[in-house]
Symmetry: C2
Subunit: 350 residues, 2 copies
DNA sequence: AATTGGCACTCGAAGAGGTAGAGTGCTAAT
DNA sequence: ATTAGCACTCTACCTCTTCGAGTGCCAATT
């Protein structure tokens, strides 16, 4: 799409005005606010052409224009200029993320929290998918006769535990031995290569009958696999209710209904990021309006990005806001949150 | 408050009608729906007296009556008759709660989930406060030089872990030794009796300089204390948007804004349950309308109850719905969820 | 004394007009 | 190519009216 210079200016002005007022913008008010050196009639002609190109549209015959999804897309791709965050914003984000942190998940949660606070929109963060991380330790210990604790430590510094039932008569030593053998043979294996069969074959020369052993190993296996579950942090849903686009209750209901299923939203974002055309430079990803295939989010945009944990793992973080949003500002905020999060994770894990 | 028989019937009929229609109920429609053997004029007189008693009120002069908070209270305390859950409901709750469970927290989350689904309202569940539980195991193990994993096991079957930094030169054996000593001296102590001083005094005769030791012990202490944090599960907020009482966006916004701070809601419920006059028989607790001191919840009611983990620990579970709700039905649902949850927790932990 | 029929009155919900204002597209002039 | 001018179009908002469900009170009845 290549527009002549003035058309670009007009489109940009329309998007800017509409974003700040949420009212359709007409030729006259466009003249008033921006200093175009042409008359409103000329702008009307330009606007008619922009409409023909599908970049803007009228809610009804005698109303001003609003950007279409395509218009926003054009704006985002080639019109907007990047925002520079204020020192205050940066400070706020930094302190927000590093506030009372014990584990990586605290950082991620804090990042989501901060992002929702500074943007005023819904924030979304996914913990990294751990299939690529490898097992570094696996310990089983007796808690009381018949119960044992399995602790799994992964390369990313992630720890998962589970209390499992074991046959009553097993001794501490036996458990210890089994645990050692399993650990020895699985250590260093990526999570997605560990199957029930790999676990079982780890223990060949134990004096225990197979049936018992299998029970224990199954539990160990489940514990390992449990580590693979992603957590989702979704915050600030209620903030969307304040926006004029959701003043009709039904829209708001649909929107919040969809967002309530955080697993679904997470799945969508993860899919986006896995086959993502935008993200060549490991930058942000943007989806606008109808580009989003979730129900009730037709008036929204996603801005998401990727953060890293160690060398191989990555998670997603970003926001869901109205498509009528200050893209440049929000993008810089998301970007800065990502940088800060990356730094803090590095600090915490090394 | 002692009402004559007919007044009771009238109040009950008004509550029932208003709950099902959400429209103010007038004398005429009251006659139509229920078979009172008096005329509408008589009912009008009765209603005027009920209004004088503060049990019902008019939204405006020429409208029907709606129950006041006091009216609902009277209804709940002495008018309503208990509901019997259908087999289908019970089945649904049972399978909902015991679905794919690994830990106690899974049960609690499932219970919250199920409760929101069957009631159609917001559900709330708090994990038990663990201050009364005692430490059963504490293990520290080296992950790599400079990093150790601390695992704390509590009596309730709760496990918490944390990766901590340790001085680089510490050996596996040293860590093991410290961990053993701390464990030996803290084992069996309730969480709220463990302070930084108790932790420190546990290790007297180690050949390590105090400053190092203190660092490690501090981390152990933090890990233990971290176990004391409550988790909150709050689900189904968006369902309230469908109710007529929240069709005005501002109310809905206030409501969801308050509910977004789940820590605050949790604190409120916990306080309720700790100095709770209702709960003599360890039954449910009900708060109606203005009795609730949280902003934006004036049109809501809480119905909460207590579930048990082991002998000493207890958590809370319940719902937040409109005060115009089918109390009898919802109470039985909450009660059945509590019973089922108790059973399942017992099954899981013994 | 309690109940009832009747009646005047009240108030909100809902629909019907009417107007103002911000927009548009088109045409003819520059 | 641009612009001034004009007729036209729609919505948002206001007012007015009507309708109906409801009330309170009074006088008659049981």
């Amino acid at each position: 799409m290549s527009l002549d210079n003035r058309k670009k200016q007009v489109l940009q002005a329309i998007v800017d005005d509409y974003v700040s007022t949420s009212e359709p913008v007409g030729s006259k008010s466009l003249i008033e606010r921006h200093n175009f050196s042409v008359s409103s009639a000329t702008l009307r002609n330009e606007m008619a052409e922009l409409e023909k190109l599908g970049l803007i549209e009228k809610p009804h015959t005698s109303a001003g224009r609003i950007p279409s999804d395509k218009g926003y897309r054009e704006y985002v791709n080639s019109l907007m200029r990047m925002d520079v965050l204020s020192d205050k914003d940066m400070e706020e984000i930094k302190t927000g993320i590093s506030d009372s942190v014990n584990q990586i998940t605290d950082l991620i949660r804090n990042a989501a929290n901060t992002l929702s606070k500074t943007t005023g929109y819904v924030s979304l963060a996914l913990t990294p998918k751990l299939t690529k991380s490898y097992l570094t330790q696996l310990k089983m210990m007796m808690i009381e006769p018949g119960k044992a604790l399995v602790v799994v430590v992964l390369s990313a510094g992630v720890v998962k535990d589970k209390i499992v039932r074991i046959p009553n008569f097993l001794t501490n030593e036996q458990i210890y031995q089994i645990s050692n053998e399993v650990e020895k043979s699985l250590c260093g294996k990526p999570l997605d290569e560990i199957t029930l069969i790999t676990v079982s074959s780890a223990v060949k020369d134990t004096p225990l009958p197979d049936s018992l052993l299998n029970q224990i190993l199954y539990e160990a296996y489940v514990t390992i696999k449990q580590a693979d579950k992603l957590d989702v942090y979704l915050e600030g849903e209620h903030k969307l209710l304040a926006l004029p686009e959701f003043k009709e209750m039904n829209r708001a209901k649909d929107l919040l209904g969809t967002l309530a299923d955080d697993g679904m939203v997470a799945g969508y974002v993860r899919e986006l990021s896995s086959n993502n055309p935008d993200d060549k430079n490991n930058q942000y990803m943007i989806r606008i309006g109808q580009e989003i295939t979730l129900e009730g989010l037709e008036e929204c945009s996603f801005i998401t990005t990727t953060y890293n944990v160690g060398d191989v793992l990555s998670g997603n973080i970003g926001i869901i806001g109205p498509k009528r949003m200050e893209y440049s500002k929000v993008i810089s905020q998301v970007d800065f949150v990502r940088k800060t999060l990356n730094d803090e994770i590095k600090k915490l894990t090394e």
